[in-house]
Symmetry: C2
Subunit: 183 residues, 2 copies
């Protein structure tokens, strides 16, 4: 069923919309970004957006997917770095998306599709963190708790900003309590 020509056009237009939406969501926040504004910046009528995305939450999910997959591609290069540096990198990487993370948390109860995306994202995150911690010698029975703690601390640090120096000290302390002592 190769309707290739049309499909390319469609996904090109989708991407065009998503680039605009991402920029606005990240800079203004989800609530403060109206569909009209996204349409205006894309150069279409407001209701045109609904031909490409079912609603505003679908738009948000698509934007989140873009952000996450971009971050994951970058992350591949840092798989071998020490744990402490990896965590600090993640913190810097997610800094811009801090507002969107808070939005996701506040909308899981009201938008089932977003809730599904959220649980799935955490599954992925936990999985990669598990293998990462295992590689760094964390004991098998502690892996689950250690991974959860790490994730929660990252989210906490994003929601409650502190200075770069404090961040480094905190992450160092966290890693030292989680990683087995070196001899």
């Amino acid at each position: 069923m190769a309707r290739t020509k049309t499909d390319l056009d469609r996904s090109a237009k989708e991407q065009e919309i998503l680039v605009v939406a991402q920029k606005l969501f990240v800079s203004l926040g989800y609530d403060a970004t109206s569909m009209s504004r996204i349409a205006e910046d894309t150069g279409v009528a407001p209701n045109t957006l609904y031909w490409y995305f079912t609603d505003k939450d679908a738009l948000l999910i698509a934007v989140l997917d873009r952000l996450v997959s971009a971050a994951f591609r970058e992350y591949e290069r840092r798989r071998k770095a020490p744990l402490e540096r990896q965590l600090l990198w993640i913190l810097g990487e997610l800094k811009d998306a801090e507002g969107l993370i808070a939005t996701v948390h506040s909308r899981t109860s009201v938008a089932p599709s977003l809730d599904a995306w959220h649980t799935n994202f955490h599954r992925m995150l936990e999985l990669t963190l598990l293998t990462q911690l295992r590689a760094h010698g964390v004991a098998e029975e502690e892996l689950g708790h250690a991974a959860k703690t790490t994730i929660f601390v990252i989210e906490g640090m994003l929601a409650h900003p502190s200075s770069a120096a404090e961040q480094r000290a905190f992450v160092r302390w966290l890693v030292s309590t989680i990683e087995p002592k070196r001899t």
Copy 2:
């Protein structure tokens, strides 16, 4: 300047509104609760609310203050309990307000008054947690990091619900890594 009579009336009406707002915010969520609905359930016209509260965020802050001070009164009785039990109690206590916590985080960037409330709340929370951890024998240089970790983990557990059994196991593990080993 004792305008006592009027002041009493006023604060009585305020409380009446707050009881309604609290019930709706907790059950429906902040966004899903309209000012009109609060007014309707209180039995006044929508714009009447603005005579008592400057805007919807002021209403939210007043509700949060009610919830927090009630929780703190209850907490006084549990100051002496073991750390593990204290944390589990807090988790249960905040469970209903989970949605509001997420709302606070997502609105700090857009509502300065809420942001101020939020930082102040965390200051209080951190302070009581610090004395609590100190009393449980946590080393002085670790206090700050341990308190932060505890707070972040609590917030994380609220935002990402798990079974009661998992909660207990996780909290037990957390306390065991933070508290000094007993001999």
